[in-house]
């Protein structure tokens, strides 16, 4: 028998298994490892985010970080680390003779700030029909039919307003023309152009002119 000839027993032994080496292809193994990381991350992310949030909140409030005793003991037994329960109770602020920051006050301030912001948030939110602004002469229900006369009056007022605006503008320009007390052809040409632009008749021009000169 040759030394190199394998025996039946030797055939059963998987060298990879014996050497504790994976038989899968590196690429496939890499992908599965990445997947595993991704899964772990997603699970850990949630818990770590919560923890992170707690830590930040605690630090922001000026509090002290307190580690879970079980976690600490799992790493280093407290007895071995030389930490007694009495030592744990020692307040470093007391030791230094300094005032402990008032966590409650900070918390209340934060609450106030949050409330103030919440008030702004509330304004942006839809309040619902109970907060609808009710104008004078308008019913709170809003669904009640407005009388025809009121609608007509409103339309009339709006029409008069729209008509009054160009006249007011024209009056303003006309007053400007008389500032130097003398009217010249260039000013007259400008006013004629403005009349066309603003849709003001010559009769209206004379009316406004009289109004200005008599005032």
């Amino acid at each position: 028998m040759f030394i190199d000839e394998p025996t039946e027993d030797e055939d059963d032994i998987d060298p990879f298994e014996a050497l504790n080496v994976s038989t899968t292809a590196p690429a496939a193994r890499g992908a599965s490892l990445l997947d595993a990381f991704a899964e772990d991350d997603s699970v850990e992310d949630e818990s770590s985010e919560e923890e992170e949030g707690e830590v930040i909140a605690t630090l922001e409030m000026g509090g002290m970080m307190e580690m879970n005793e079980e976690i600490v003991e799992s790493v280093i037994p407290l007895s071995e680390a030389g930490v007694n329960e009495e030592e744990e109770d020692i307040d470093p602020f007391e030791e230094l003779g300094a005032m402990r920051p008032n966590v409650n006050a900070v918390e209340s301030t934060n609450t106030n700030v949050n409330d103030a912001l919440a008030a702004f948030m509330d304004e942006d939110e839809y309040q619902g029909p109970e907060n609808t602004i009710v104008f004078e002469g308008e019913s709170a229900g809003g669904d009640e039919p407005i009388e025809q006369e009121e609608v007509e009056e409103e339309i009339q007022v709006e029409t008069e307003k729209a008509r009054a605006q160009p006249e007011e503008l024209y009056q303003f320009l006309l007053e400007g023309v008389w500032v130097d007390d003398v009217l010249d052809p260039a000013e007259v040409a400008l006013m004629a152009r403005k009349r066309r632009e603003l849709g003001i008749s010559f009769e209206t021009h004379l009316k406004i002119l009289k109004q200005i000169l008599h005032d």
């Binding site: 009217l183 052809p185 007259v188 004629a192 021009h205």
Partner: protein, 152 residues
């Protein structure tokens, strides 16, 4: 106030005295111009305070004849009056019309019921206007518009 009625007063008092005929003509002219008593009193008071004290009486109210002549000439213009007023309006714009001149010119044109034509002459540059020599009867209006010097 009313340059036309003021001119009528000047003519009626031209020799330093006002005759009965002159007073009647002034009454008629007030009606033609559709002046109210209060409007007339404003013009007349100003005339009494500023003009009459400086007059030297040298006749017996002969100014009535001059007033009558002027009023007749003015009434005779009739259809020609709007054309003259448009032209005078345009000429006054070209020379530069003051606010006071506009007010007086427009008021006079209003009394003669030609205010729209006069205004077009001043305010409508697109409106073609024939430049005319105005008749002597419209000299008071021309003076108020600055087209004639007071001495002229």
């Amino acid at each position: 106030m009313s340059i036309l009625f003021q001119h009528a007063l000047d003519l009626a008092w031209s020799d330093g005295r006002l005759s009965k005929r002159g007073a009647i003509l002034l009454e008629n002219f007030q009606e033609i111009l559709e002046l109210s008593d209060s409007q007339r009193s404003v013009v007349e008071e100003k005339h009494h305070l500023q003009v009459i004290p400086h007059l030297i009486p040298r006749g017996f109210g002969s100014g009535a004849s001059t007033l009558d002549q002027w009023m007749t000439s003015l009434m005779d213009l009739d259809d020609e009056l709007p054309r003259y007023l448009v032209s005078m309006g345009r000429q006054s714009l070209e020379t530069g019309i003051s606010k006071q001149a506009w007010i007086e010119g427009f008021a006079a044109a209003e009394r003669m019921k030609c205010e729209f034509e006069f205004a077009r002459g001043v305010w409508e540059p697109e409106f073609e206007v024939e430049i005319l020599n105005w008749p002597k009867v419209l000299d008071p209006v021309a003076k108020s518009l600055g087209l004639l010097l007071e001495e002229d």
